[in-house]
Symmetry: D4
């Protein structure tokens, strides 16, 4: 089985690389997509359309440009991995999870046990909760190669 | 115009009551729905189905029972108001926003200016950003009564 | 909250009556629907369209007439309760569960612990697993009346 | 015509191999998919995510991991073959049939005459009832090669 | 059960009246809809929009006005009865059947045995084939009143 | 037949009133909806959410508030009447027409002959082209009352 | 532009070959699909599943097997050409047209002027009415190659 | 990321070429589609189906032939660029925008500041407003190549 996997959420650790490299090393037939993960580039996504004095509108323009890629990635994926770290609000990750849920796109959450209670609604609609990239890789291997 | 409005998010201030009472005082033809907002009752939603020693599963069972009502409320609403407070993660509110966005249900966010950057993706798909219940009431009045 | 609940599955015990009466006694605002539960009437649903010498076609005609009501009931419900008893194959109940799952209609399974392993896929897509009509009534009460 | 065929149900006989090999020998342009059919691997699908003392949750976790593959396979197939054997409950096969029916995915059932009455609802929504893998192969040949 | 039934097809016999009156006499909770059945009025549906010298465009305008009502009736019905008589092409009835099939709206065909072969594709997607209005009434009674 | 009709477009003549009054006088069972037609109120729809120095953002906020009502009206209507006058760009009317077309909502255009060539794509997806409110009333009468 | 075109209807003249060859000669990037057009093979499509003494069921089984291919072809096409000849009822062609209309698949009808009145509803939802295969080829050429 | 981009609107300047060439020069993995942009060919799209004395029907036939390509292009694109120039009504561009909005296809508008007020509803549902082809190219580059 060939899968298209969307990686959503936290950009401060290298969990994306771990999953992508891990799957690559196993030779799994998986294509990964992601929002722009360069924080500064992402914040500036709409700057080329004209400067804004009001920071709400600067954010708004960038968010809407980024949404084109995010929406495309979710709607074209077969499975999403949604990562929550210890820090920051990461409302965009929860937003992506809700978006997946409404579309019927299965997703796996990836977070520490400390976040279990706060993420209960997000985990409640997930297909699985993983605590490490290795667990995610194992599931991806199982899904795509097990007879 | 008659509207069904779903109120999502923060349960520690009385914003729901303000909006509901405000609309009632204006005689607007609006029906409101909400997830269970009694925190303890919500956490215990699944307890009647059998005790769990593992807190993940207790949360999981309750979240899935609550999801029946939340999903029903979102799918049957015409508009959602999604409230983020200063404290707590409130990932369920962002999850609801993503769910609305994917279904094409319009929503208005309600939060302070301090959260603008953290909520840019959520605001990016919203129809409006309000900073007070009064602003929300004004929009609801406009939508349902303006000729 | 007002709910439309579809009751699917086993017809040899009085679980439907227990749930309907229980909710009625509590004054819950719930409308129930069900397939035809009179076994003989159900098997004969298509007989008026002409006799069949071949039992496959007799069953086929009746099943398709009954499907009009079942499909209508599922597509118009907000929640399904799907009951599996100890005896019989009850493939129609599992079929209804799959139908619900694909449409995104939430359902609660109702069965004894002895069936847990055999029903793992059906339970896997359910919002809850109940072991008694009383538990179902409690959830329905919670969903429709809890503030 | 090129078809993607999902094979669902019984894992105790070699009906999958018969169909796959039969189509291969005829040079038909058909891609097959299936849930994991290694019984032990399937039951253990979620074990890597952490041990469970409660067997319900072990089954639940595995079922939800497996559901990612099953859902993917059904949603991406053009036709499903759904096999019921004499033994076991096989509620997952009936669940898959209901899932297909709700999505409008055509399916063919494969079972002995003895199961006709018990499967009348499942057969009622099927495009055909076959009694042997050979019959299935003949239909697949007809569908993909007949001028 | 309350049903909305759309009556499609032949306008030269009184089958609509028979079904409507029969259901009324039985006190069934059924609402019926239909395309305009006054032949001349139907053909002239678009005439008020301006005269046409070319009969293709006269027909075209009328057909598109009528389509508003037909489309509305099909999309809002729970079940369609599609009647084919001995005479005329009645392509609009077959068109309605295909429209129902694609939307997943169940329909029952009503026609004589002589038309069986010609209607095999239309009957193949139907939930039942009836040969008389009485049979249709019996099914409607069964669907809406049987316990 | 009971219809919900959305009236879109030009706000400088009294075509809405003519249609609404005309249908009322005929006792037709039709409910009408419309975007806010008070030009100043419409332009100021978002002003209560905070002042904008940049006119693009003022317009943007108002347009998105108005969109809640427009989207609701289109998605809940059975038929739209889309009016183009001689003056102004009226891109919102054409936008509504495209929105209707994509949702499969039937619409009737209402405009003078002079606009035929410019509106050919909009008329190409319409169910009818009317040149006067009287013609629209006649069609609405036909659709809802003709036997 | 690359198109997938489904050819539906009459099987007694060589219109399919004319269109396919005509497009091939022009080097157009078009893939064609069709139901089985060998009349005897089509009628016998279900015979391998077991003999039927009742001709209704023989037809029924074959029609449902053929429906797998027809449904697949329509749902995977970008455009359908629907041909009506002078003879026969051809209700399957009108059924296909209705199926296309409900799915929003554009179709072009191909028939003589003599059938205009009888086909007004089918033509009313069509994108074009052609009277010869050459006209169809010209449109296909225009759609796929015009700058 | 690989994108399919539909270019809609004004045909009197070379904005399409600028965008296509600009993306080509950057080596972006983007496929472009467009309605027929040769004005005379577009107006004559339906002429081969028979002459019309009435210009409304000539336009109508051509518009419906062109709609096959436009509908296909929109439904198969990932993103649309919708261009409004200073002259002409360009209702087809606004129609395309509404069509995109209803389908959830993201689009970017491309127009001068002078049109901001007139296009507020169209811009209100857009992901971005660009004022030059260069800005569009920059966004396309960002979306498809930024890490």
């Amino acid at each position: 089985m060939k899968l298209k996997v969307y990686l959503s959420g936290e950009i401060h650790s290298n969990w994306r690389t771990q999953i992508i490299e891990g799957c690559k090393n196993l030779g799994l037939d998986i294509t990964f997509s992601s929002a722009v993960t360069d924080h500064d580039a992402s914040d500036a996504a709409g700057d080329g359309l004209g400067e804004e004095s009001n920071s709400f509108w600067r954010d708004h323009k960038s968010a809407k440009v980024n949404a084109v890629r995010i929406k495309y990635s979710i709607e074209n994926c077969d499975l999403a991995i949604i990562r929550f770290g210890e820090k920051y609000k990461q409302w965009n990750a929860a937003f992506d999870a809700g978006y997946c849920a409404a579309l019927g796109k299965p997703y796996i959450t990836l977070h520490d046990e400390s976040l279990v209670h706060a993420l209960k609604e997000v985990d409640g609609s997930a297909q699985a909760w993983a605590q490490s990239p290795t667990q995610v890789i194992d599931i991806l291997k199982y899904l795509t190669t097990q007879a």
